[in-house]
Amino acid sequence: MVQYEPVIGLEIHAQLRTRTKLFCACPAEYGAEPNEHVCPTCLGLPGALPVLNQSAVELAVRAALALECQIAERSVFARKNYFYPDSPKGYQISQYTEPIALGGALTIDVEGQARRIGITRVHMEEDAGKSVHGAAGDSLIDLNRAGVPLIEIVSEPELYSSTEAAAYMKALRDVLVYLGVNDGNLEQGSLRCDANVSLRPVGSTTLGTRAELKNLNSFRFLARAIEVEIARQTSVLDGGGQVVQETRSYDPERNLTRSLRSKEDAHDYRYFPDPDLPPLRLDAAWISAERARVGELPRAKRQRYEAELGLPAATAATLTAHPATARLFEAALARLDQPVLVANWIVTEVLRGAELHGIDARFTVSAEQLAELLGLLADGRINGAQAKEVFAAMENTARQPGDVVAERGMQRLSGEALRPLCVAAIADSPSQAAAYRAGKRNILGYFVGRVMKASGGAADAKAVSELLEALLAE
């Protein structure tokens, strides 16, 4: 029996996080009442014309630069002609022969191995409207989404398993969310994936006939759909049959893919340059400036955190999952050079109360507050329990940790302030002190416990035991 290997390429549509649509000033936001965000242009009224959104161009370029693409100094918008009720003009404005970016790569990590997946192209296009089916024999058309800006990111067919495909989509989402290009919200359709799946005999280098799986809009469905499609194609080939080039949809309930009826003429889109839009021209200097603005990407950050700051892999991954978290970490680190301490506090304390929605983030403390607090802790001026208390007290306030510590009378329990408590503890237990001095060192814990109790739990245990050791050695 011939052994087959799957070859997968992904086409991912990502909605750009702009305020307005790609070619008109209607709001691009999700969730309005039907046909609330429409104008002559996105309704496709006769005579209305498109004007390109600057911010959409910037976001598309930012994404393409992060994907190491070559940005085209000239790109062309074309019309893709087809009739569909949610495509109000009877054509979609997209980029075809001259896209905004070509030839990049995205590095993904699969089972501890890094793999560079080629990016064929990135192009800009407008979204279609939404149809709701089944109301008394009618389909209902809402054009709020019509004209919302998208980029389509096309990978090379260089993914060889459903796991790799899912890892690619996750990595892409991380990058796009990190850059603020996309809100990462799969449920609302901000990121939509089509997968081209084909099989070839192991060892072969030519591609087999592919099926295109449409609208795989979660990581789980993406992986499962690819798996069942690989199984389907394998049984077709094993049975002596041939895979037909077609579009298929995934039915998650029955966990199978099925052919979408393809109309005879469905594929002649009659692309031609849109005469309403002159070519988009980007200046080389502007592209360089944008390249500088993209900065360090999550994967590179993660590697640096591990290699240079000595953070564990899991911690580094958590810190780099959201740009705001990484920014908070780096800002705190700039004030207090204790990477492990700062990282652990962010992961365990700060993220617990944080609200991260897409690109938007809200933390309960600032980097300044966190750094000052951890400075007090590192200096032993307060202990871990006190630090948590101070943290809780300053959350969602502008209060400084030092003020909280002073107000709650915590400082006297650090440093020299501990001496009277330790001296008293030794004086109160002369027999235990003698035993210690006779060599029973583990009795130190007894003294520490007494001092801690006397301090109401507010003393720094490490400082207490150091001071007790010194006093008992006298």
């Binding site: 496709g44 006769p46 005579g47 002609n81 009739f83 024999g137 002159p278």
Partner: protein, 495 residues
Amino acid sequence: MSESVPSLVSGVQAGRLSAEALTEGALGVIERAGPLNAFLHVDGEGARAAARGLDERRVRGDELGPLAGIPIAVKDSLCTQGMPTTAASRSLTRDGSARSGWRPPYDATVVSRLRAAGAVIVAKTNQDELAMGSSSENSAFGAVKNPWDLARTPGGSSGGSAAAVACRATPLALGSDTGGSIRQPAALCGVVGIKPTYGRVSRYGLIAFGSSLDQVGPLATDVRSAARLLGVLSGHDPLDSTSATVPVDDYEAACERGARGLRIGVPSEYFASGLSPEVERAVRAGLDALRDAGATIVDVELPHTRYGVATYYVLATAEASSNLARLDGVRFGLRVEAERGNLDGLYGASRSAGFGREVQRRILLGTFVLSSGYYDAYYAKAQRVRALVARDFERAFARVDAIAAPTSPTVAFRLGERLTDPLAMYLADVYTLPASLAGLPALSVPAGLSTATDADPALPVGLQLIGPAFAEASLLALAACVEAACPPSTPEPWA
């Protein structure tokens, strides 16, 4: 109404004339002009209200615009908010009648500019359906007739606008020109018509035919009136990505500049076989007038002229096939549901019931030239030939300031004469297409009448002037010289 627009506007501004009286005058002529079938919608009420408003503002001492009180007719291809806008197509009606026409929720930019300038929009004019035609016979609402001879076409596609000005219903009208649709009817009706440089006037709100060719422009009784209107229409529009930011010249001042020192090229390709001797005689007389006014006349060559018609019909129909896809019976316009519950049936039935035969023919042609396997041989090839047509002009304009030629090879032809032969109809545009392809400004100015014979009455001849991009001012200077030698005339019944 023989006064020019600048003088009428001064009259209104000074209180010598009232906007209301001018509007009543226009509405009266429109009513008498019924047999011309030049108007699809007459907005008497709206026009009277606008005119009264202007007169009241004058009494209050308000500043009135550069078209204060001037009645104007607007081609039905232009969106007018709340007023029926059909482009003479059933597809833009609810039930096939002009009165059930689509009412756009917005004004075309040129219409907003007219309103802001104080013009009074009295009517929407009939045309070839969706601007496809050269005779205004392809209207879903009946052919327009030429005020000079009711048995003849006014030309097209802006035939209603040309007829409106020719019969002196309004001194001004708006047309649109894709391959000659302002200039050719202007020539056949004996009025002035200007197709501006591509990008000079906003296309926002013009129902698109061939987007890379379409321009809105003035039709007017005389050169100075046309210049006034062109000044109002011109200028950058942020709603149109193809709208130029080039500053607008003083077109009225240009009309007084004269022809002295200007070099005019005469292309032999425009005086070739197919040109009627009467047209040639009148155009050559116009050239003599320009020479007498101090211009130098030289020969130029435009060798790719002969490919203009083929190039144009590939590109314009390709763009049209896509532009007209939005007329699908879903959001506005005609819907026919052959059988309930069939979306494809809705599209097919609505579009076939909505479009006339010529429009369907051009949609099919445009679909063909873009379709898989033919794109390179037709569409892509035509865009390259278009570049050669433009290069011809560039070379000529290195030597001359303007090119003079006939606008149309013949005077107005008889209604029905070319309807059965689409290609013969396309050839009516042979002299106007090249400037459209190159995106250059061009105008038609009356150059007198043909000689009357037993068979034919005397009919207007137009002289076409083509200039380099954004050189509308020099064209107007020259046109004013032609006009001085051949003053505008009005057809007998409307004089």
